[in-house]
C-alpha cells in the first residue's frame, strides 16, 4: 500500500480506537458540547456591550467551535501520543514498516474528523436552540477551521514531546490549556483592551476563536469572500509553524525511562 492509502487505513482504526475509549471520547468530545449547553443556557438573552450589543450566544457558539477543534486536535493528540509512547506502543510501531507520514496522517485525519463532527453539532445546537445565525461565510469558516486544526494538531504533537510520562499528561496538558482558554475569552467575553487579552494575544487560542467568531459575525457584509480575520489567521499560521518545528525536532517514539 502507498503512504496515502495507509494513512486512510490508519484513520479507520484510529476512529475505532477513539470512539471505544470512553474517557477520551468524553473529555475531548463531550466537554465542548457540555460547556455550550451550560453557558448558552445561563446567558440566553445577554448582550455584549463592547461588541455593539451583540447577543452573547452569537459570540459564544463560535468560541465553543474553536474549543472543540482545540480539544479534538491539541488535547487529543497530546494525550494519545503520551499514553502510547509511555506504554511502548509507539516503539512497537517503529519496528513495523508503517511510514511515519501515514501514522501521523491517520492521527491528524482522525482529529480533523472529530473537529468536523463537533463543529456541525455545535453549530446546529446553537442555531436550533440558542438563536444563533450563520451569515454564510462558508469559505472563511472552512479555511479558518482547517488552519486552526492544523495549528493545534502540530501543537498537540509538540506538547506530547514535552510531557514527561503518561501519568503527568492530563495535568500538564490541561494545566497549559485551561488558563489560556480562560484569558482568551472562550467561556466569557473579555474586553479586547484588558490585561488578559494582551497576554492572550501572544498565544494562538484567542486569535483562533476571534477568527471563528469573524465567520459568524453578522455585522460583516455577507458573502463568500467575507468573514476572514486576516491578522488573527496569520498568528495562528505562525503558531502552526512553531508547533511543527518543535514537533519534528523533539518528538520521541520511546518512553523516557528507556
Amino acid at each position: 500500500m502507498s503512504a496515502p492509502t495507509l494513512a486512510l487505513h490508519q484513520l479507520r482504526y484510529e476512529q475505532k480506537m477513539y470512539w471505544r475509549n470512553p474517557p477520551s471520547a468524553f473529555f475531548t468530545f463531550a466537554f465542548p458540547i457540555m460547556f455550550l449547553v451550560i453557558f448558552a443556557s445561563l446567558n440566553t438573552g445577554e448582550r455584549i456591550s463592547f461588541l455593539g450589543g451583540l447577543k452573547y450566544n452569537q459570540y459564544y457558539t463560535p468560541g465553543i467551535i474553536a474549543f472543540g477543534v482545540i480539544s479534538a486536535c491539541f488535547t487529543n493528540l497530546a494525550m494519545t501520543l503520551s499514553i502510547r509512547r509511555d506504554s511502548g506502543i509507539l516503539k512497537r510501531l517503529r519496528g513495523t514498516p508503517l511510514p511515519t507520514v501515514s501514522f501521523f496522517g491517520g492521527l491528524v485525519g482522525n482529529a480533523f474528523v472529530i473537529s468536523a463532527v463537533l463543529t456541525v453539532i455545535t453549530t446546529l445546537v446553537g442555531i436550533l436552540f440558542y438563536g444563533v445565525t450563520f451569515p454564510g461565510h462558508w469559505l472563511a469558516l472552512l479555511v479558518t477551521l482547517a488552519l486552526g486544526a492544523t495549528c493545534f494538531c502540530s501543537l498537540g504533537v509538540a506538547m506530547s514531546a514535552l510531557v514527561p510520562n503518561a501519568d503527568a499528561a492530563p495535568a500538564v496538558v490541561n494545566g497549559v490549556l485551561f488558563p489560556i482558554l480562560f484569558i482568551s475569552g472562550i467561556f466569557f467575553p473579555l474586553p479586547p483592551d484588558g490585561a488578559f487579552s494582551h497576554i492572550a494575544n501572544v498565544f494562538p487560542i484567542r486569535h483562533f476563536a476571534l477568527a471563528v467568531f469573524s465567520t459568524f459575525d453578522p455585522r460583516l457584509p455577507h458573502g463568500v469572500t467575507h468573514g476572514f480575520a486576516g491578522g488573527d489567521l496569520l498568528v495562528v499560521a505562525i503558531w502552526a509553524i512553531v508547533g511543527s518545528i518543535v514537533a519534528v525536532r523533539r518528538f520521541r517514539w520511546e518512553p523516557r525511562h528507556g
Binding site: 500500500m1 487505513h9 482504526y13 480506537m17 511502548g88 506502543i89 512497537r92 517503529r94 514498516p97 508503517l98
Partner: protein, 309 residues
C-alpha cells in the same frame, strides 16, 4: 542457500554516555537458524538486539541485517523483519483480529490473519478486545504481530518471560513451526532449558563481551569437559584411582576418560563387595557452563560496571 549470513556483526560497540554497554562483539547468524543470546541482566543482550532491530545506532562497528544497515534500512528492511520487544504493547481498544489486520496491511505479502490467530492459539479470542486478554494472551498476540508480515527474520526479546510452563511449551512449539517454514529467529532468554530446546546456536554475553559461542551441546566445552563421577563410600574404603575430592562422605572423580575409570571403579566395587551409593555420572549442564562463563566474565573485568540498559 549455503552460508548465507542473515546477520553479520563485526566489532560492535555501543555506549550510553560514558558507559559502554557493548564492548566489541562479533556475530554471524545464518539463514534458517534459531540463534539465542544468553546473558545476565545488563550484560548487553537487549542493547545488541536493539542495534540489530534498528532502534539504536552503533557507536562503532559494522552491522548488516539481511545485507542492509538496520538503522538506515528503512521500510524495505522492516518489511522483511519481525520485531517482538521485551515489553508487550498493543492498542487496548482494538480486537485481536482488528489489530492483526491493521498491521498485516503494512507488509507487501502478509500471512493470513486467521492463520496467525490459530498459530498463536488465540482462536477463541479473535473478537475479544486486547484489554480483556490476560498477560500471556497479550504476549502471544504480540508474537503474532511480529510474524503477521511473514518476515524472513524474527527478533524475540525474552518471548516467554512470565509464562507458566505449559504456555512456554506452546511458545516453543510456535518457534519450531516458524523455523520449519524457513524463518530465521534471534531470541534472548534467561532460561537455559529454552535455549537448549530451541536454539541451533547460542552466544553467551557477559559485561558487553561474547564469552562463548556454539551449539547447546558443545558451548563452553560442554562436550569435552571433564565428566564428574560422584558416589558415597563406607568409611575406610579408598577407590583405586585418583580422586578429585572427598566431601562429607561423597567422593568426586573428575575425568576426561570416563569409560576406563568407570570400568575400573565398578570392577573394584564388585570385587570388594562395596556399594557405590548414589552413583551419578554427569557432564556439566548448560546451566553449569553458563554460570561458569558469566561468573568468570564478571570477575575478569572487575572495574567495568555492569549496567542495566
Amino acid at each position: 542457500m549455503v552460508d548465507v549470513a542473515v546477520i553479520e556483526v563485526r566489532h560492535l560497540r555501543k555506549s550510553y554516555g560514558p558507559v559502554e554497554a557493548v564492548k566489541g562483539i562479533d556475530l554471524r547468524v545464518e539463514a534458517g537458524e534459531v540463534f539465542a543470546l544468553l546473558g545476565p541482566n545488563g550484560a548487553g543482550k537487549t542493547t545488541t538486539l536493539e542495534v540489530l532491530e534498528g532502534f539504536r545506532r552503533p557507536t562503532a562497528g559494522d552491522v548488516r541485517v539481511l545485507g542492509l544497515d538496520p538503522h538506515d534500512g528503512g521500510r524495505a528492511l522492516r518489511q522483511r523483519v519481525g520485531v517482538v520487544l521485551q515489553e508487550t504493547a498493543v492498542e487496548p481498544y482494538l480486537t485481536v483480529r482488528e489489530v492483526l489486520r491493521r498491521n498485516a496491511a503494512y507488509y507487501p505479502s502478509p500471512r493470513d490473519v486467521d492463520d496467525v490467530i490459530d498459530l498463536v492459539g488465540l482462536d477463541e479470542k479473535r473478537d475479544a478486545r486486547v484489554k480483556t486478554l490476560s498477560g500471556g494472551q497479550q504476549r502471544r498476540l504480540d508474537v503474532g504481530l511480529g510474524i503477521v508480515g511473514n518476515p524472513e527474520l524474527v527478533f524475540l526479546d525474552e518471548p516467554t518471560t512470565g509464562f507458566d510452563p505449559s504456555a512456554r511449551r506452546g511458545a516453543w512449539e510456535l518457534v519450531r513451526r516458524l523455523t520449519g517454514g524457513g524463518t530465521t529467529v534471534v531470541l534472548t532468554t534467561h532460561y537455559m532449558d529454552e535455549a537448549q530446546a530451541l536454539a541451533d546456536r547460542i552466544a553467551v554475553i557477559a559485561a558487553g563481551h561474547i564469552v562463548a559461542e556454539g551449539t547447546p551441546q558443545s558451548i563452553g566445552g560442554r562436550d569435552t569437559a571433564a565428566v564428574r563421577i560422584r558416589f558415597r563410600l563406607p568409611g575406610g574404603e579408598t577407590p583405586p584411582m585418583t580422586v578429585t575430592s572427598y566431601q562429607q562422605g561423597w567422593v568426586l572423580i573428575e575425568t576426561d576418560d570416563e569409560v576406563p575409570v568407570l570400568h575400573a571403579l565398578t570392577g573394584w566395587a564388585l570385587e570388594r563387595g562395596v556399594d557405590l551409593d548414589g552413583l551419578t555420572v554427569e557432564r556439566p549442564t548448560l546451566e553449569d557452563v553458563y554460570l561458569a562463563l558469566t561468573g568468570t566474565a564478571a570477575t575478569a573485568v572487575p572495574d567495568q560496571p555492569v549496567v542495566s540498559v
